[in-house]
């Protein structure tokens, strides 16, 4: 079996051959892909590059998550780095052109690949993350990498997992004239960072908040997630930038994420209690309101596959063992 040849190695091998005469005819098609990064100004000195409300695919190159850029007197602050080396490189150029300065600090909100695989484009010393994020990337980064190469294809070329060098231990950081509150939470993953900008009152929620796009749950603890949402809701703020979906000056993202988690969790829990197997639970109808939510069916299906094995292990009664 060829399991030792990763997709990344395969692509690298192919690009190494690109100069060979037999492949030169493909050069035109192999021209580097470029993302279209369109910064949306949220307020003075704060921009969001919106992710598309889609699953990762070879058309969007994995650019599905929101990325934020803040200007400070010391340099740009970037929140999450996107899905690939190429994205990270474009993001760095964009941040320089918007703020007129180089990047002073990069924060990673959590360890999922659509948020962190652009990290390679930045000096590792400037990239800050919690110990939990670094641990998660250490353990699962290579697996994420294989999955990203599979889902996004050539967009991932040259992308490697790099670990942040700055471990977040404090709850506040001053970058130039901007004071940022670093809120270490959990629920979407075992370590989620939300950032509150004191100057503008904006909460950058990472994937603790989704809006009009169904939440993802591969590493979720739904109970803890709902606690985190309640805690975020208790912070007076002017705007919430979700990990996926539009930034708005209301609590729609907090509310919708909480209601989705509550209702999906209940549907799956009831399916389990009725004795349904996974494929049967997957086929159940979703609440009417989720028709307006991008990827509702897709993420529900994934969530069934994430939660069911845990329910079975925890809740099926013990009935025997070794004879």
């Amino acid at each position: 079996m060829s399991a030792t040849l990763s997709r990344r190695n395969a692509l690298a091998a192919l690009s190494g051959l690109a100069g060979a005469p037999i492949l030169s005819m493909f050069d035109a098609e192999a021209a580097p892909k470029a993302y279209t990064l369109m910064p949306q100004k949220l307020t003075d000195g704060v921009w969001m590059v919106a992710g598309v409300p889609e699953a990762i695919n070879t058309a969007n190159g994995g650019a599905i998550a929101n990325i934020s850029i803040l200007s400070t007197s010391e340099g740009a602050v970037i929140i999450d780095t996107g899905p690939s080396k190429r994205y990270g490189e474009q993001l760095r150029v964009l941040a320089q052109s918007l703020t007129g300065k180089d990047v002073a600090r990069v924060y990673l909100t959590h360890f999922h690949p659509d948020h962190v695989f652009g990290t390679q484009a930045f000096p590792a010393e400037s990239v800050a993350a919690t110990e939990g994020v670094i641990k998660g990337l250490t353990e699962l980064g290579e697996g994420f990498s294989a999955a990203m190469y599979q889902a996004a294809g050539d967009w991932m070329r040259g992308t490697e997992v790099v670990l942040p060098k700055h471990v977040i231990t404090s709850s506040v950081e001053d970058i130039g004239d901007r004071r940022l509150r670093l809120l270490r939470m959990k629920g979407h993953t075992a370590s989620d960072l939300a950032i509150f900008d004191e100057q503008t009152g904006i909460i950058f929620a990472g994937d603790l908040v989704f809006l009009d796009r169904a939440p993802t749950t591969p590493h979720a603890d739904i109970g803890a997630w709902k606690v985190a949402l309640a805690n975020l809701g208790g912070i007076p703020h002017t705007m919430i930038v979700p990990g996926h979906g539009p930034a708005e000056d209301n609590t729609r993202g907090l509310d919708q994420t909480r209601v989705w988690l509550t209702e999906i969790d209940a549907i799956i829990g009831q399916a389990f209690e009725r004795g349904l197997d996974m494929t049967e639970a997957i086929a159940l109808p979703l609440p009417e309101w989720t028709n307006k939510i991008a990827l509702a069916r897709y993420e529900y299906e994934r969530t069934v596959m994430h939660l069911y094995p845990k329910l079975e292990a925890a809740k099926l009664p013990k009935v025997g063992g070794r004879g």
């Binding site: 079996m1 399991a3 030792t4 294989a146 999955a147 599979q150 591969p218 009725r274 004795g275 349904l276 197997d277 996974m278 494929t279 049967e280 997957i282 086929a283 897709y298 299906e301 994934r302 596959m305 994430h306 069911y308 094995p309 079975e312 292990a313 099926l316 009664p317 013990k318 009935v319 025997g320 063992g321 070794r322 004879g323």
Partner: protein, 263 residues
């Protein structure tokens, strides 16, 4: 209902060339697999045999599948085959008095057609097919349990529950802790898997047997529909692995209708 009869022997003679177009999955290996598993018994493609797989594979080592041949009369065997897996034969249910239905999870090495073949009263294998899109790697990844030094402590530990549904069948959900090593993992662990499960009533009468093969996921978790008497207080389940390990479980069968509305 499209039902096309193809004689497996004819197919073998023609080396599959003429018949390849008949396979709704256009699988390159199906003709050989059919000849191997069905021998000279004829088979048809029959949409009444329903294979259900998810639209997305979230975990290549735990892909949920339901094979349901309840719409075909007199099914005596239900076999599940994944054409492009390194080990294609996933499991065979011999339902006895019970329903030709099983839900389970299995490991996939790449995208593949998944088949459920039901040997029916007419002496013909009725084959339902479904294409499963997947990234792969499930067969050659070591079992999760191999990272846990204490995995032998829980080997064979069983969990289960029975629901009675409106049609009088007992819906058994069963989970047995077992690494289900394929023998293909990079760590060189030899094949080690549960190979037989038999369900019996309180008098020892068989309620069906299940043969499992290497592709069935670690900690096999299955759902079956057993035909038990209303008076049956419990179902006993005897499992055996290929190292001679024997595991025994008894699942109470309370006679009360569940909320289950024939899914």
């Amino acid at each position: 209902m499209k039902v096309r009869l193809i004689l497996a022997c004819t197919l073998a003679t023609l080396a599959g060339a003429a018949s390849a177009a008949e396979d709704p999955m256009h699988s390159p290996v199906w003709a050989q697999l059919a000849a191997r598993h069905f021998g000279t018994t004829p088979y048809v493609y029959d949409e009444r045999v329903v294979v259900t797989v998810p639209g997305i594979v979230e975990n290549q080592a735990q892909v949920p599948v339901t094979a349901d041949a309840r719409a075909v009369p007199g099914v005596t065997k239900l076999m599940v085959i994944a054409d492009l897996n390194p080990i294609q034969h996933v499991l065979t249910l011999t339902p006895g008095p019970s329903a030709p239905y099983i839900s389970f999870r299995f490991k996939v090495e790449q995208a593949t057609p998944v088949r459920a073949a039901a040997l029916a009263a007419d002496g013909v294998w009725h084959v339902g097919s479904r294409y499963l899109d997947a990234a792969g790697g499930g067969c050659s990844a070591p079992a999760m349990a191999r990272k846990d030094a204490d995995w032998t402590e829980t080997l064979g530990a069983a969990q289960g529950r029975i629901w009675r549904d409106g049609s009088g069948l007992a819906r058994l959900r069963l989970r047995v802790r077992h690494p289900m090593d394929t023998g293909l993992a990079k760590d060189g662990t030899p094949a080690f898997h549960i190979e037989q499960v038999e369900m019996k009533d309180e008098n020892g009468a068989s309620l069906g047997t299940l043969e499992l093969f290497e592709p069935v996921s670690e900690d096999p978790t299955v759902t079956m529909l057993l035909r038990v008497q209303p008076s049956t207080p419990s179902v006993s389940i005897d499992s055996r692995d290929n190292n001679g390990g024997v595991f025994r479980a008894t699942v109470p069968a309370p006679w009360k209708s569940s909320q289950l509305a024939n899914p």
